[in-house]
Symmetry: C2
Subunit: 149 residues, 2 copies
């Protein structure tokens, strides 16, 4: 479980366990952070272009990140992240949908200025129970290197 930057290579793939999005969680998150009618009001959502309640994209993102963290790959080496790119919400996430995450390492670059760390770029997808990709994004993970002699 205790991996470091040096233990990852481009092409490495990870798959998370799943989480089911409930109506209660969707409304609770959105009421606090993204209170648009199609995220918090079942009746208004039914009349919206989505035809029913859908999760806030920020909820899907945060919950998706938690699913990957839970796998423990970065538990000992994570030093945070400078950013994310190309976040796409590709399909609605509705109450009862069960998502899991898949990740693939696309680049591993040691820091040129700080020898104790490196940047790991990982491309992530969230998939639902029908195998549809509902969200994709890439993250630059700042990871600690193994101590050298």
């Amino acid at each position: 479980m205790s991996r470091y930057f040096d233990d990852f290579s481009p092409g490495d793939r990870f798959v998370s366990k799943g989480v089911t999005f409930t109506e209660a969680d969707i409304i609770s998150f959105a009421l606090r952070y993204d209170p648009q009618p199609f995220h918090i009001d079942v009746e208004a959502a039914a009349r919206s272009p989505y035809g029913g309640l859908i999760a806030s994209g920020f909820h899907t993102l945060a919950q998706g990140f938690r699913m990957m963290l839970q796998e423990g790959l970065f538990a000992e080496c994570s030093m945070g992240s400078p950013g994310m790119d190309e976040l796409r919400w590709l399909a609605p996430v509705r109450p009862g949908d069960t998502l899991h995450m898949e990740g693939e390492v696309v680049e591993a670059r040691p820091s040129s200025s700080k020898p104790d760390r490196g940047i790991l770029k990982v491309s992530y997808r969230a998939l639902n129970q029908r195998g549809e990709t509902v969200m994709s994004f890439s993250v630059a993970h700042l990871l600690r290197r193994r101590a050298t002699d």
Copy 2:
């Protein structure tokens, strides 16, 4: 307050009111979505490269989006978003920090296939009480157009 896609133009700027990030909110969000030691454990955070507790970047993002929503610019016209680009976490957000958001429209493009909507690209920044930019990103907003004759 009731704006539509047609009411926005490149160069338009918005400024939100502020929100203060508390230690309680930082830990509560992170415990649910991003439980890394430097987001939930004051003692471990003090020994981390950040030198103290910092907010999850997903918390800063979601709270920042809420700040802009609260201004009501998109209250009547928002149809959601296909995605975000170039999210950067530029400086730590610590307990007691007060952030506000600034947005600038960079592109307004009517949909070529659906005449009732358009895509508004907005570049956002979150700034703290010292005027430091702590986060930046751009969002493609899907907005309803004014009904035409």
